[in-house]
Symmetry: D2
Subunit: 333 residues, 4 copies
């Protein structure tokens, strides 16, 4: 449900407007010094904050919403560390939700936002936190980034590095044009999707399990659990469908039979454009309420024009959580 | 490792040339009459057998190898059933491996087949069953089909139906041309990839978990665990990257925020062409041995020209196992 | 590791002298109003606080140490509740460790307390929080009581009640003499063990799993996980060894073949006396240090004279967590 | 449900009168040569067979029923082994139920045996295999012994030995008198309970988890899952309740704070007398039927007079499964 992994376990909690989001990380080996700066840097990337430039400039640069930039991400550490070194006990942390403005969402108390999880949550639970998406909000990914950053440090100590990057926005694959394209969608009150590629270097061969717990299966599970992600492929992937066997087999993506082969691990994932855009609402004019009535819908331009931009460190975090879950990695000298 | 699910659990066992493949299915509700004909029919689809036509015709029809058609798939039921009705106790079954011809694989005792899992298994275990891929063989999917067929019956009793079909072979998307295309690759000693679409109807809304256990995450995990599968997407998927938010949000794929929305569930998956083709071997001429030496490689035309053809019932089986794992479904009247 | 349950999951965190102890409770059904007073009352029982009498009097009454009475137990709720009602999302909470006085434990920074977990923690982790037992401290049970109290409310809504009581102290089985006996041990700087009986009423028949997950197996697992617990039995238990089959079978303890039979569930558990008493230290005079050297040991009379007294609400809490983990109970109307 | 362990997983299947009982053992490291003779010897102990004496003599010697001695225990290995060496893949095995005589149980098709699991199974599943206890039969423990014997070999390779023995029958603690006492109960058509002590030598210190997964908690869970077991204690156990802290702390039982301390691990468990004795039936005269009617009950003297005798190798098997589940043990050189 809200836990990920079985030997290196991250349990996540928090709604977008509860007191805090946070998590508990269990199974972290004892004696590791945690670099808090690295965690902060990843949280900044997730928030769309550029540490060297001023934030206003950056907002327009990558279509990140002003709301995201204002997010508070200060991590409070509750347990599991003594003088900055892991004790082997659960590491609990929280990030306060200081920027709570439930009045912005008052209109949704009794209505569902189109193409959002509002209606499915109501179907499942019969109750929901209508303030900003509640548990379904992407705010929850901040906790993933904290946990994943701890995992990344553990992996780095074993020589394993993870690097994700945005490789496509709409049908554009040249990164130098991404900024302009995203801004043009934002200017129109619209949004656009993106594709991220993630590569992992330094993995030993022999990692993964042959049948159900193939490495690619765990990666797909982890990546598809990220909000707005609609697909995952690795190696030759979907594009490999057109290549005959004599060619396609050259691109393993780093995995054969579910187990690493010692080459670079490489996978892609696609993020849909956010559906909560002014343009989308203008087209629909109204929203379907919980009790079947129609109400007028209106939405401020609060969302990112391309959510894939800020998903990059989340993809890295989830990849790190998958890999740190292998005791083969955690326990090797 | 070799178990799938946590409340409706399928444990799989068997190498391609051990005494048997089979499994144990735990968590099946008591009192369900099992239709053995349906299971046999799905096993026939997986083996490429056509129940109405003669087998030779069919072989050429869909590029299925003669070896596959000869596979024995008779299921022996060991426990969990009394007079054909489930007892609520574990259902164990096995399928004997009668067609074992290890001498066909003698050449691979000390060498690794290129782009197969031979080398990664050796890296992981330091030992492997070299006879026909051992545990990594697609023979293992027969057990998945048996277990999945039981799950499908459970779901059918709740009004939920699963239907997968091949929608693309190479760059061809017109089914009436698939046969010819596959045969042309087979004739050249080559192979080609394919894309399968799977749809599920009758699902209640409210199914799935919001954070890590989103329904799409579990489906991706299940599907990517199938041999030769290289990717998964749902709803607008990878192709949706080019559509702006105001359009793309129309295609949920049946899931919002990880939870079913009551519409048809729809996902795709891609299967790579098998790398063990005569043409591939002719190009490479040789194979890398376990101890670094080079040996001449040779392979009979024993593999399917398009493994996606026979993966269709396996995709249905894994989908059924994912859905039957939801106690919301199993327990509802 | 630090999580309990699989569908109603309690994840615990915190050292005795970290910033906080606390937990995350996952799988709580949505729409349940939580009674915070009940939780507070259980925390008071665990701390040895008597809500009607003044605390000083009570300390001597049941041999609870003054340190325990001073413990802060104010619960801060972080997520999962909206206006006091559960959302179906994880309920995270913490209790600050305000009473931290690491200087009291300075002597143990480089030495191990006899018959405590200090040495085994060091063996396992190579590092430990030497301040007051760290993770091994009974302080951790405060979080169990909070989580268990939520579970108890859920169960109470289904008509299931849990009641534990101290039935033996030393060889004394008459409750009216417990107080005096415990005080006599405390006066001598010594401690004594106790036996708790726990009964559950209102359980439906048919609860439990037949083989490994027998109800008694889960209860034993839960109860033996409590600090200082050395044994568990149910029904006729250890004492039944002397009764022939024609008599003993009358005492099922509420479970047959691992499954509830609809009668009162009844089990016992035994708690050893705390080993950290002034008398024990006086006898030993010294303690073995981490590096093999001998140091003089000295200890204030900070521990309870009979830890079983305060274990009573912890036994109830763990029993509630076991039972709430059954979806049969959680989901029934 | 029917699986035990999470990294070294034993999945059990089979009813007493289905085609077979058996199991799948997952997580066994590759490259271990399995000694089948050791497994056979443990199955003989479980069946009450004495390998050196003739079986008739032995029956009267320890009160084992003639039915038990006739049990077939030939193990058929299905997968996971190549030339007697583990492959790292699941080891599946079965034992055929050749001695099936359902007519012996015909009387119980529509009635429940008193103090047996018949009624609770019916309450849980609404259906049951009435032939000899079905899944609840102690026949299932044969599969546990096979799996546990594999685990024992794995442990023996690491220098860890497990030894259980019967230390009490009724109130008799002198082994030389056990035989006579059990026979006297058998002669009267009655039965008696017993206590088993199990000791483990060679365990490294630092094994176990501090909070919920304390080693004693896992052992209690495993042992209480054995049919007819009513209690578990370790170290000073229930008897320690009368010893003051200054004495009792000398008896750790090999575990401190849930983690091994490097000394001998020692625990006890108690087994109730079987309730299905001629004397018990004579006293009751009748049994309560499924639909509330009363029928005359009659039972042949088919049960053991002291089930604890044959539980000894089962206690060893479950202990081995608990310990082999620790990756610290499995993976160390």
């Amino acid at each position: 449900m809200n836990s990920f992994g079985d030997t290196f376990v991250f349990t996540s909690f928090g709604e977008s407007h509860s007191a805090a989001v946070g998590g508990v990380l269990d199974g972290v080996p004892a004696g590791i010094r945690i670099n808090l700066d690295l965690i902060r840097a990843n949280l900044d990337r997730r928030a769309g904050r550029n540490q060297t430039a001023n934030s206003k400039q950056q907002t327009s640069a990558m279509g990140v919403s002003p709301r995201a930039l204002r997010e508070n991400d200060e991590v409070e550490w509750l347990s599991g560390l003594l003088d900055g070194v892991t004790l082997g006990t659960p590491i609990a942390f929280l990030i306060r939700n200081r920027n709570a403005r439930p009045e912005d969402y008052e209109a949704f108390r009794h209505s569902f936002r189109h193409a959002h999880a509002d209606s499915t949550y109501e179907a499942k639970y019969g109750i929901r936190d209508w303030r900003g998406g509640g548990r379904a909000s992407a705010r929850e990914t901040a906790a993933r980034v904290v946990a994943g950053s701890v995992a990344q440090q553990l992996l780095a100590n074993k020589g394993i590095t993870i690097k994700a990057e945005l490789i496509q926005v709409g049908d554009e694959t040249r990164p130098e044009y991404f900024n302009e394209l995203i801004n043009s969608y934002r200017a129109e009150g619209d949004s656009i999707g993106g594709i991220i590629r993630c590569e992992v270097n330094g993995l030993p061969s022999g990692l993964g399990e042959p049948i159900f717990d193939k490495l690619q299966a765990h990666l797909a599970y982890a990546i598809l659990s990220i909000n707005a992600c609609k697909g995952f492929d690795y190696g030759s992937g979907f594009e490999g469908v057109c290549q005959p066997g004599s060619i396609a087999n050259q691109h393993s993506g780093g995995i054969l039979g579910g187990i690493t082969d010692g080459t670079t691990l490489s996978f892609r994932c696609v993020f849909k454009p956010t559906p909560s855009t002014p343009k989308a609402f203008a087209q629909m004019r109204n929203d379907i309420t919980a009790n079947g009535k129609i109400v007028n819908g209106k939405i401020a331009n609060r969302s990112d024009a391309c959510v894939a931009v800020r998903a990059v460190p989340v993809v890295e975090a989830m990849t790190a959580l998958v890999l740190a879950n292998f005791s083969d990695i955690r326990l090797r000298p």
